[in-house]
Amino acid sequence: MSQPLLSLKGLTKAYPGVIANNEISFDIGEGEVHALLGENGAGKSTLVKMIYGLVKPDSGGMTLRGAPYAPSEPRVARADGIAMVFQHFSLFDALNVAENIALGMENPPALRDLASRIREVSETYGLPLDPFRTVGDLSAGERQRVEIIRCLLQDPKLLIMDEPTSVLTPQEVEILFKTLQQLKAEGTSILYISHKLEEIRTLCDTATILRLGQVVGDCIPRETTARQMAEMMVGSSLKTPERSGRTLGPVALDITGLSVSSPTEFGTALKNLHLIVRVGEILGIGGVAGNGQEELLGVLSGEITTDAGAVKMAGQPIGRMGPTARRQLGVLTAPEERLGHAAAPDMSLTENALLTGVVRERLESHGFLKWGAARGFAERIIQAFDVRTPGPENAARSLSGGNLQKFVIGREVLQDPKVLVVNQPTWGVDAAAAASIRQALLDLAAGGAAVICISQDLDELMEIADNFAALNEGRLSEPRPTEGLSVDEIGLMMGGAHGMEVAHA
């Protein structure tokens, strides 16, 4: 390749207290799939926002096919052929696919013409999509397709994708990869951001690795092992969680025939759910988010109460108990949403330690709070889980997502749970911290606790879980031992590709 498509030269962007990007330079070639790797907080988002015109660099510049490129806003970036698929979709549930796409266009054609173009593009790239379906009825994978097609209609030279596979089943990932390879073959460059190193190894031609806002290396993913890449990201060697042979004890918690509607409007109802977890077991529950994960956690935490007998702990009915009574018994939970659910954003870490720790850590007597003890508990969490913060008096929202996640998981793990339920325990956490959280879960199980781990990260579940079940539209599949389970089988348990397997046939 003589001239790169996009060339970044010394891009720097500072925010108060942190240099998000420091002198970032690299090239993206024509028709190249370029991976951008880095832990959370490494500066990936800031960098792509600069490329997409959402953020202006403090210094440095970019050239697009040799010409200076400095988008002042996303519209300009799009006009220059840069398109982006965000991790979080910006679609209106109540509108149909074509209307949603028209909304994002400068001069949208008549809906009928647009619909035929959508069909055309979707067929060309093997992304079947009915332009007249309402977005609210689409699966996460299909919604992502809407975003991708919206980008492809602009005929982009560079497509930026931010964590595109986090919401997809394995089969959907396969479809997506075929599309991306076809785009590449047609000469479109792709900047691909992901945490999933194996994906990057299959898909990407080159990779640039960021750490703490700086480029720390690049590599050819096909010639590098996932472990090597992870170590470049973290800057130190990684410890793989150790899993000692476990023997499963008596039933610690079981759910029988539970059906419950969601407390929220767009939630998913749980339908006739059965679940058993034994002492010493880690039960992995996979599935794409929004299929009842939050509701399942609510049922277990006591935020959603049910018939007394529907949820039993060691035979004792607890379905009607609230969160406090369940904590007393040793059923602890860590919800997915850190800010606002697991933790109160504007409250200090001490107060947040108190939030769930008050019962088991005895942080009150006769209703009066023991602030000293609460602070001590917060400090123990910070210490044991390597939470990076100046001290427990800092507000929860001043912590980075990964650090807060460590705090939230650590808070429950340190309370010596009998049953621990975690939802997305390592979401947004860097590789080293994720490994230590997984190790903590394994240690808990080895120490005689029962652990239910709800996660979208299948690799994680394969690594730590004894049994695997998938949650799909509020239904839980029959659990199966993780040993010997293939990716295809998991995909089918997760509901396959929502009837889209034939797309590339």
Binding site: P16, K56, P345
Partner: protein
């Protein structure tokens, strides 16, 4: 260009400094307003802020400060607990009236019995009256999800109508020559809230101080206070922590109602003296301002109530002595709230002179 930038966490220093800054800004702009009305701004400000405390006639005004401040503190403390939890009871005025009616009703029923237990029973009845009135929006919200802002506000007008009916019918003084209004509690020692009338001391002042201490301990040391704050800041986290939202709503509204009701009773049994058509003068609404001016913090509320009482009394002096229109005084008080809320932004954000962006 000036930009606002969110602070990583709220600034403690600014949350202390903004009320002071707001007072200063009010003085400056209020002064401009008075100057525009052709009055000497310095004299006007001095009349409002200095004379009631240290002026020639301060012996007369100082007791007035206690009389005006006490109900504001009592009501604002109750409201602040609800506001902290995200429960917007703005009908304290109605709860205040109903408390006064219930308490006065009990007192008048005992008239002219001279027994030590009459006044305590009146206080209890006053608290229950306010509590019961506040339970209406509370139960409606818990059972049917109605909006407590609307219901509690509407009930103020209902309470005013009941007050009118009571002062001309059921509680009317039989020896009052047909004038509306109940017997005067100042003529009934057993049912009287004064401790030392010439100092402005009545049981409401004592109750207000106790309420401040109670609320301070509750919010800072007690599990319930923690749950109140948690519910306001992160309702979902509060549910996760085991808070029962319905119970908390009833508790906060009930406490606020009881305190407002007590404030009404102390007022009717002392400074006001009798139930009458014009008994309520807006303490229940002013207390909302006081609660926010005090940053929903019990000690802050104490200071804020003192400040509001001062502007009330000082404002009256300014009207009498300088001929300032009443509307100007109300604008002055409005400015105070405006500046407070506007400057509050600085607690969570900082101003930054934007460096010119690269073009």
């Amino acid at each position: 260009m000036i930009r606002l930038e969110k602070r990583p966490q709220p600034s403690r220093a600014w949350s202390m400094a903004t009320p002071l800054l707001a007072v200063v800004a009010t003085m400056v702009f209020g002064g401009l307003l008075f100057a525009a009305l052709g009055k000497n701004p310095f004299v006007a400000i001095q009349t409002i802020f200095w004379d009631p405390l240290f002026g020639e006639y301060s012996f007369f005004y100082r007791p007035q400060l206690l009389v005006k401040g006490a109900p504001l503190v009592l009501i604002a403390i109750g409201l602040s607990l609800g506001f902290r939890a995200g429960i917007w009871n703005i009908g304290a005025e109605g709860q205040y009236i109903m408390g006064a009616l219930a308490g006065a009703g009990v007192g008048l029923a005992f008239y002219p019995l001279d027994a030590w237990y009459v006044f305590p029973l009146m206080v209890i009845a006053g608290a229950l009256g306010g509590w019961a009135w506040a339970m209406i929006p509370g139960l409606l919200k818990v059972k049917f999800g109605t909006n407590e802002i609307l219901v509690s506000l509407m009930l103020v007008y209902v309470a005013e109508l009941i007050l009118g009916s009571m002062s001309t019918r059921l509680l009317k003084n039989p020896e009052g020559y047909g004038f509306p209004g109940s017997r005067n509690f100042n003529d009934y020692p057993a049912g009287n809230s004064w401790i030392a009338q010439d100092l402005g001391m009545h049981w409401g002042v004592a109750a207000a101080l106790i309420a401040v201490i109670f609320a301070y301990v509750l919010l800072n040391r007690h599990m319930l206070g923690f749950h109140i704050r948690l519910s306001g800041e992160a309702p979902r986290a509060a549910r996760f922590a085991g808070v029962n939202p319905a119970r908390l709503i009833l508790l906060c509204l009930g406490l606020a109602g009881a305190l407002a009701g007590m404030a009404g009773l102390f007022e009717v049994a002392g400074p006001a003296g009798q139930i009458n058509i014009d008994f309520n003068v807006g303490y229940g609404f002013t207390a909302i301002i006081v609660a926010f001016l005090g940053r929903l913090n019990p000690l802050g509320i104490l200071l804020a109530a003192a400040l509001m009482a001062l502007t009330y009394i000082g404002g009256e002096i300014a009207q009498d002595n300088l001929g300032l229109p009443a509307a100007a005084i109300q604008m002055f008080q409005g400015m105070l709230l405006f500046f407070l809320l506007a400057l509050d932004l600085l607690t969570n954000y900082r101003l930054r002179l934007a460096v010119k962006e690269r073009t």
